[in-house]
């Protein structure tokens, strides 16, 4: 007796532990007989059958277990099902529970029919029933599985409550399920365009999904509390439509799209990238122009004192007779000097006009905000480019494959350009093949090294020479400033020399670089670096000389005190003159260097001994790097000068606008497509990086001025103060509440700033090491992938 009891207990324990697996096996066999296997289901059947085969054969204790199963199974399954089971097993279980519950369902359904809220739920239930076979055919496995999982959850909930609330939870579960399905369909619609399907198939799917969404979103919108959901859905739809319309509108607003497309089809994407860069710069300058004019110039013009009311706004009597002369105006003296264009015109009244507009504060804030905005825009563009470009990474990894698959430019729509492209691709193929073979050759390393050192030495000499030349010329212009009878050349000597240096030195560098015998891509990088160093050296020499002058003027002012010279306006004038002469030189170069050359080659060819078009000089090619660097440096000068001459940004906007039309015309009329393939996209971030560097370098003088140099005594918005940023201190003291003042005081404490700086340095170091670690991991994964695929192939 005892033994039998013990045996029975053991059996109970055993079957309790084994029920989930065993029970399924038996039920599945039933299922297999009940329903015809079809599609996914047959797969499940097969899996279940194989699993059963692996298990030990059941013994005679089966009948007992089965009986236990009938009432133990439901609750057992609920408690004992581990959450992290195999997906297939889940599916199988769901199927069983669904089949099992279907039978008692009829009872509850009739019971529910007698209830109050049945009418609403019934149609859904019936709809759901009718829907299922259709869904199984068309929806992919995931959807059916989800539905089944949902039904399982609802069963569980119902069992737990076992009350009238069963009906509510049932509808809630249904709601949930429907909501999830609707969301899924919406997601499918959203990613539809990413699939490489044919339009017909996509349309069919889209219609299906949209129908489903429309049908059931309405259903979900019924009942109290659901009204908000329906409203939310409607707002989302409207928002999506608005977003799409806005995107469409934005693309129509982009100017010069046709023009750039034309250039692209003739010259390829590399030349067009310059014009895209130009357009981007134009956009940025427009914003800066809006800021400056809207917040500084217009208020002064509208609400400030008019011309002639105070000494700083009037042309001094001594200069009045010549103030309107064209030559004086061209020099930005006379009426130009005493206008809104320059710093000196602005009054230092704390608030002006009816609106109590704080002009000095606004002036300073706009000056700083210009840099802040430019920084933000440049960094955002760089980040976007880095995302697409992938940086400089593997230069030599896929040379041939890339040449094959990515060298053709699909934007080319012109037969001549296409022929050129064919020729250049052929040349590049041949070169690469030869390169590969030559890599094994032995070269005379010593001679090459010596030549390279020599070339670098010569270039450094050139750079030093040009720097000294500029310094010398600036000193001379200071002497000239004291004299009165100056020829046109002497007046504009500084600007002319700087522009000429910018024209002459780059070709010189290129000729010297031929000694070095680098790979063309590396040679290009050296060339760009050297031109950059040249421009930078020139600009900074100019700046130092200028600040020398400023200091002289300041000393003068200390001694004179009253009505001293306005050094800020003088600096502003210098920058404006530099910019204007830069513009003139650029336009003249295009006119002479490209247009005249093209005219001569075309018309003189008829009566010349050799073929001018095919050999020297032939038509010019568009110099992308030279132009881009010119643009970058021009922008640097604008940034530096905008603080002292608010009108400079307006001049730049006009310049960029006219440049666009002029250069587009010049390129189409006088240039021929490049012979060599030029990879512009990789350099995109290079130019952005240059722009960023220039931004920082132009920030330095302005910040130095604001922080250390005392403003002029009687001109400009900061006159009378010890330092320019005193305006901010004044505003904090007088206009803002007291606690903000103390807060700022704490924030400006070196004890707080130094730890903050240290923290940032640490953060940079950390991010750098993380990025290095990722690169290592990347390389390892690549190697692993290659090894694995090799192994697979060998097996």
């Amino acid at each position: 007796c005892v033994c039998v009891c013990v045996c029975v207990c053991v059996c109970v324990c055993v079957c309790v532990c084994m029920t989930p697996v065993e029970g399924e096996g038996t039920e599945d066999r039933q299922l297999a007989e009940e329903e015809p296997a079809a599609g996914a289901k047959s797969q499940l059947m097969r899996m279940m059958r194989t699993r059963m085969k692996r298990r030990p054969p059941e013994t005679a204790e089966e009948p007992i277990r089965r009986r236990l199963l009938s009432h133990v199974t439901p609750t057992m399954k609920v408690r004992m099902t581990p959450p992290r089971e195999d997906k297939e097993e889940q599916q199988i279980k769901e199927q069983q529970t669904k089949r099992k519950e279907e039978r008692p369902r009829t009872v509850t359904r009739t019971a529910r029919r007698r209830g109050t809220r049945e009418t609403r739920r019934e149609p859904r239930e019936r709809r759901g029933k009718k829907r299922r076979p259709k869904i199984r055919k068309e929806m992919p496995k995931g959807r059916a599985k989800e539905r089944r999982r949902k039904t399982r959850r609802t069963r569980r909930r119902r069992r737990r409550k076992r009350a009238d609330s069963e009906e509510e939870s049932m509808s809630e579960g249904e709601m949930e399920r429907l909501k999830e399905e609707v969301e899924e369909k919406k997601k499918v619609i959203a990613i539809m365009r990413n699939k490489p399907w044919r339009m017909k198939r996509r349309l069919v799917h889209l219609k299906e999904c949209q129908e489903f969404v429309d049908k059931f979103e309405g259903a979900l919108g019924k009942g109290k509390g659901r009204k908000f959901y329906a409203y939310k859905v409607m707002m989302t739809k409207k928002w999506i439509k608005f977003q799409r319309d806005f995107e469409n509108f934005k693309t129509t607003c982009i100017p010069w799209e046709r023009k750039i497309k034309e250039v692209e089809s003739h010259f390829g994407s590399s030349v067009a990238s310059y014009f895209i860069f130009l357009r981007w710069m134009y956009g940025m300058n427009m914003v800066l122009f809006g800021l400056t004019f809207g917040l500084v110039v217009i208020p002064e013009v509208l609400m400030g004192l008019p011309y002639g009311s105070i000494p700083r706004k009037t042309v001094p009597r001594a200069e009045q007779p010549t103030a309107q002369d064209y030559s004086v105006l061209m020099d930005f003296n006379g009426y130009c000097k005493y206008s809104v264009l320059f710093y000196g015109y602005y009054n230092n009244q704390r608030t002006i006009g009816l609106l109590k507009f704080r002009l000095p504060l606004s002036y300073l804030m706009v000056g700083v905000g210009t840099f802040g905005y430019s920084l933000m825009v440049v960094i955002r563009t760089m980040a976007k480019n880095a995302d697409v470009g992938g940086g400089d990474g593997d230069d030599g990894e896929f040379t041939f494959a890339w040449k094959m698959f990515t060298s053709w430019d699909y934007l080319i729509g012109n037969a001549e350009t296409a022929d050129n492209k064919y020729a250049s691709i052929t040349t590049s193929f041949k070169e690469s093949i030869v390169d590969e073979q030559e890599n094994q050759k032995d070269e005379n390393i010593h001679l090459r090294r010596f030549l390279r050192v020599l070339a670098n030495f010569m270039i450094i000499c050139c750079l030093g020479g040009s720097g000294y030349l500029i310094f010398f010329v600036v000193k001379r212009s200071q002497e000239f400033a004291n004299r009165d009878d100056l020829s046109w050349y002497e007046k504009n000597e500084l600007e002319l020399i700087m522009s000429l240096l910018g024209l002459v030195c780059p070709p010189l560098f290129e000729t010297i670089a031929e000694l070095e015998e680098y790979h063309p891509r590396i040679a290009l990088k050296w060339q760009l670096g050297r031109i950059f160093a040249l421009f930078l050296g020139n600009l900074y020499t100019f700046l130092f000389a200028l600040f020398d002058e400023v200091n002289n003027k300041l000393e003068e002012e200390v001694s004179i005190r009253n009505a001293g010279p306005c050094w800020e306006t003088a600096v502003g004038i210098e920058f404006v003159k530099l910019t204007v002469s830069d513009i003139q030189v650029t336009y003249l170069t295009i006119l002479i260097g490209d247009f005249a050359r093209a005219v001569i080659v075309r018309f003189l060819n008829y009566c010349w001994c050799w073929d001018l078009e095919a050999t020297y000089p032939s038509y010019g090619e568009f110099d992308i790097s030279g132009n881009v660097l010119g643009l970058v440096f021009n922008q640097g000068m604008i940034w530096m000068g905008a603080f002292y001459a608010p009108g400079l940004v307006g001049i730049n906007v006009l310049r960029l606008l006219s440049s666009m039309y002029y250069q587009c015309w010049a390129v189409m009329a006088t240039n021929v497509p490049h012979e060599r393939v030029f990879k512009a996209s990789k350099s995109n971030n290079f130019y952005m990086g240059l722009l960023l560097l220039i931004l920082f370098l132009s920030l330095l003088p302005v910040v130095y001025t604001i922080m250390t140099l005392p403003p002029s005594f009687d001109c400009g918005p900061f006159s009378g103060k010890a330092k320019m940023f005193d305006v901010i201190m004044e505003t904090i003291d007088l206009d803002l509440p007291a606690f903000l003042g103390t807060l700022m005081g704490y924030a400006a404490n070196p004890g707080l700033i130094i730890p903050a700086v240290l923290l940032m340095v640490l953060a940079i170091y950390y991010l750098n090491s993380v990025s290095e670690a990722y690169q290592h991991a990347n390389a390892e994964l690549k190697k692993k992938m290659q090894m694995v695929s090799l192994r697979v192939f060998q097996n």
Binding site: I189, M192, R193, N194, P196, R198, M199, K200, R202, L203, L206, E247, N248, T251, T252, K261, S265, S269, V388, G389, G390, G393, D394, E397, F398, T399, F400, A401, W402, M404, F405, T406, S407, W408, D409, Y410, L411, I412, G413, N414, A415, A418, D419, Y422, A423, I425, T426, F429, K430, S432, I433, E436, K679, S681, K682, Q786, S789, L790, V792, F793
Partner: protein, 189 residues
């Protein structure tokens, strides 16, 4: 140009916007250009087809060495004659548009380069590809030796499983590292 017999229906327009990477103006422009290619009789047919020769006369495709392959890849015609319906044309423009993703572009690029439509790029495909790129004239073609060297170099670089062909995933791996691909694989009307 005159009025087109069939204007684009508004609901179709919004559906196309949903399903492609094109903006509304681009779709309307595409419809206009497509209608210009149709002959008079075809205009009133419900889903008109433009024969391949007419499509190849578009200035954007005229100078493209892969124009025939592009037509074949995007064509849904049963007769494999490269003719395009308007929806095929939209598919083409969407894949070549500025906002198309790298996956779409690389998928279609692979199919365009697969000259024999066997799902992989083998030596024959690569050879035809090189010949397309170097132009039709004799003095720009590569010699047999150079061709052999080139193809072996390419396979060495891109063929990871060393089966002598480049399949779709290997191709996409190569292309995803290229900085020029997305910007050069573009056609804009």
């Amino acid at each position: 140009m005159g009025t087109t017999a069939s204007q684009l229906r508004k609901d179709l327009l919004s559906e196309y916007q949903e399903l492609t990477f094109l903006t509304k103006q681009e779709i309307i422009l595409a419809h206009k250009r497509f209608s210009e290619l149709l002959s008079k009789e075809d205009r009133n047919v419900p889903t008109p087809r433009v024969p391949m020769e007419k499509v190849l006369s578009l200035p954007e495709l005229k100078s493209n060495p892969f124009r025939k392959r592009i037509c074949h890849v995007f064509s849904t015609s049963d007769m494999k004659d490269g003719s395009l319906t308007f929806e095929d044309f939209l598919d083409l423009l969407s894949a070549f548009s500025d906002s198309a993703t790298l996956e779409i572009k690389s998928h279609y690029a692979f199919r365009i380069f697969d000259f024999d439509d066997d799902g992989t790029l083998d030596g024959g495909d690569l050879e035809k590809l090189v010949n397309c790129l170097t132009g039709e004239t004799d003095d720009t073609r590569l010699t047999t030796e150079e061709m052999r060297q080139l193809i072996s170099n390419i396979l060495e670089e891109s063929d990871i499983d060393k089966d002598g062909t480049v399949n779709l995933s290997e191709f996409q791996h190569v292309i995803s590292r290229s900085p020029d691909f997305v910007s050069s694989f573009k056609i804009v009307l």
